[in-house]
């Protein structure tokens, strides 16, 4: 089933027209050829796609980042890594399926890969809690990261979450503390860490696995301190202001890159990663292996200092 976002509707309408024309021709009651018209519409579709997707607003990118067909963490793990072996549980309370992790290899080197996981349908979304982890997810992630640190495996995290889960159990088991501990402990891990925002980078829930030596982002992913919806509700008291909030918060890949908040953008095909998963995976694989090679060539203390300095540098203020 094809999923059409609001701003993709002009394309969908042209495609519908094209289908009608084609079927009309195929029904063949008239021996008239529509080849010329078909070619014309096909060109119009290409042009419209080009225009729409090369001028995406921040809010449209947020919608693409949430596209129900968008590849999720396990899709990329399958495409990018070899021999992924999932490991379960935080050894304290439960196994949070909104956070996955395990051993994998890339370029014949072993790594620990960890990421937030959304569900593709209702049933899987219940299992995955729509990609919003509980404290157990962050504690599982930290358990696996500490194990990676102990045995010298580089860590790759894939971020795709609307945010940590706002629920009663999450509060009772101290979701804030689970995230905070990760922020502190990730700073002291001796192994290389690479984080990639592949879809939604939802606030503290994203940062909870995002304290890395390098932070990359897919072209249509976003990373924000608050959801555009949350921001619009608080500041403008209106859901009409969501596009404006999305723009003001500077959350798209290119805006984050120009503010130096992310290190590199991984390109996506026109229309979004869902249109060519393996092309995105190929770029991602290259970025991961290059980055891990570069980070691996640094001495431990240099790498840790660079990680500290990376985050230390964030913030603008005046002193006078």
């Amino acid at each position: 089933m094809k999923h059409t976002l609001e701003f993709e509707k002009p394309i969908a309408e042209l495609e519908k027209k094209l289908d009608e024309l084609k079927s009309h021709e195929a029904s063949g009651s008239l021996s008239v050829s529509f080849q010329e018209e078909i070619a014309l519409i096909e060109k119009k579709i290409r042009d419209t796609r080009e225009t729409i997707f090369s001028n995406l607003t921040a809010h449209q990118r947020v919608m693409l980042a949430r596209h129900p067909k968008r590849p999720y963490t396990l899709d990329y793990i399958r495409e990018v890594f070899d021999h992924f072996t999932e490991l379960h549980g935080d050894r304290l309370f439960a196994d949070d399926r909104a956070m996955v992790g395990g051993f994998a290899s890339i370029d014949d080197s072993q790594v620990m890969v960890i990421g937030t996981q959304k569900g593709r349908d209702t049933k899987e979304n219940i299992l995955r809690n729509f990609g919003s982890a509980h404290p157990e997810g962050y504690r599982k992630a930290m358990r696996l990261m500490k194990m990676a640190d102990k045995f010298g495996l580089p860590i790759v995290t894939l971020i795709d979450t609307a945010g940590a889960y706002p629920g009663i159990g999450a509060e009772e088991r101290h979701i804030a503390e689970a995230i905070a501990v990760n922020l502190r402990e990730m700073m002291l891990l001796e192994v290389p860490i690479l984080a990639i925002v592949i879809g939604e980078g939802g606030s503290g829930g994203a940062l909870g696995i995002g304290v890395a030596d390098k932070v990359m982002i897919l072209e249509n992913a976003y990373y924000s301190v608050i959801s555009p919806e949350g921001c619009a509700a608080i500041l403008w008291k209106s859901s009409e202001a969501v596009p404006q909030a999305a723009e003001c918060l500077r959350i798209t890949a290119d805006q984050l890159k120009s503010l130096k908040l992310v290190d590199q953008i991984i390109p996506e095909p026109l229309g979004g990663a869902q249109n060519d998963v393996s092309a995105v995976a190929t770029s991602m694989r290259q970025v991961i292996s290059q980055t891990l090679k570069q980070l691996g060539s640094m001495g431990v203390s240099d790498r840790m200092k660079a990680r500290y300095d990376r985050f230390r540098a964030f913030g603008q203020f005046i002193e006078s």
């Binding site: 940590a164 889960y165 706002p166 629920g167 009663i168 999450a170 509060e171 009772e172 088991r173 101290h174 979701i175 804030a176 503390e177 995230i179 905070a180 501990v181 922020l183 502190r184 402990e185 700073m187 002291l188 606030s203 503290g204 940062l207 909870g208 995002g210 304290v211 990373y223 924000s224 301190v225 608050i226 921001c231 608080i234 500041l235 003001c248 918060l249 500077r250 959350i251 984050l256 503010l259 908040l261 500290y308 985050f311 230390r312 964030f314 913030g315 603008q316 203020f317 005046i318 002193e319 006078s320």
Partner: protein, 318 residues
């Protein structure tokens, strides 16, 4: 009536003057240089969220027990209602003077202030009105001072400044005072009160969470203690960063503490929230908080905790 008085006596007096508590507070502009001078408190001014909660004018009403209270007496009792124990909010400077010996506090980075890094609509005027209202440059005071004779690094947030939200200035000032503490082998105490990250600074605000926690990681690696004091309210991005990683986590009675706001949780889960949800007492019972400490005992307790946490260092230096 400038001297602290006996509670029972005051109760009689306040009852003898019914209706006086509604008198409008006098409006005093904050002294512009207030946070250059150690320990000088900005005078309370009216407006904003303080109007409801903060004692202003001559009389105020306790929101918990409805008692009419003489304001100067309330101040003398660290803004705690002596009838019911309700803890009124403290400004950052009131908190500093409640914890630090005499005039020993030396403020750090007193002139640091925020910039509108994202050109976010309304941010500059928001900053200006908060500076006017509080007499502070931003939502935290940091510095070094003596606590019962022991030198400590202290950070104190002020909810009155844009809900104590953390942007670049709050993150940078806290990080610097933590780094100073690491260099000088000092314990760190941070008294938090915040609605979370400051959305006007976008991702720069989120990054302050990692920055402050990173500084505490290196401070802790030197086996130096960090005590986090949670006051009403401490939520979201502040709770999900430095406020949650204390060697000790203390809280004031009845302080609201949590990650997500209660309304968001209700809307998301469609469930009834448990009784006392996201209060200091609830979180102590669920294992997060080492101790709930009434305000008047806080300084003494901090001194004792630091005596314990610094014992081997103190012995090595003796």
């Amino acid at each position: 009536m400038t001297e602290p008085v006996d509670p029972s006596e005051s109760k009689l007096k306040t009852r003898a003057l019914p209706g006086v508590e509604t008198r409008e507070p006098s409006i005093t502009p904050p002294p512009s240089a207030s946070d250059q001078t150690p320990l000088k408190r900005p005078k309370p001014v009216s407006g904003g969220p303080r109007k409801r909660l903060m004692p202003e004018g001559i009389w105020t009403k306790c929101p918990k027990c409805q008692e009419t209270i003489y304001r100067k007496e309330l101040e003398a009792k660290l803004n705690v209602c002596w009838q019911c124990g309700y803890h009124f909010p403290l400004t950052a400077w009131e908190r500093v003077s409640s914890l630090i010996d005499g005039d020993s506090f030396v403020q750090a980075d007193s002139e640091m202030s925020s910039v509108d890094v994202l050109s976010f609509p309304g941010y500059l005027s928001k900053l200006e009105s908060n500076q006017q209202k509080t007499g502070m440059k931003d939502a935290v005071i940091t510095g070094l001072g003596l606590l019962h004779g022991r030198k400590v690094a202290l950070g104190v947030m002020d909810f009155g400044f844009n809900g104590g939200s953390m942007g670049s200035v709050v993150g940078e000032k806290l990080t610097r005072i933590i780094e100073s503490a690491t260099e000088q082998s000092l314990p760190v105490i941070i008294c938090s009160t915040s609605g979370g990250a400051r959305m006007y600074e976008g991702m720069f605000s989120l990054m302050q969470m990692a920055k402050t926690c990173g500084a505490l990681a290196y401070h802790g690696r030197e086996k130096l203690p960090f005590i986090s004091v949670l006051t009403d309210p401490t939520m979201a991005g502040v709770m999900a960063s430095f406020a949650s990683v204390g060697d000790l986590i203390l809280a004031e009675p009845a302080a609201r503490i949590g990650f997500a706001g209660p309304r968001v949780i209700k809307d998301t889960t469609k469930a009834e929230l448990p009784k006392g949800f996201q209060t200091a007492e609830f979180l102590r019972d669920h294992g997060l908080i080492d101790a709930i400490v009434p305000r008047k005992e806080l300084k003494g307790r901090l001194a004792w905790y630091l005596d314990c946490l610094m014992a081997s260092r103190d012995a090595a230096q003796a």
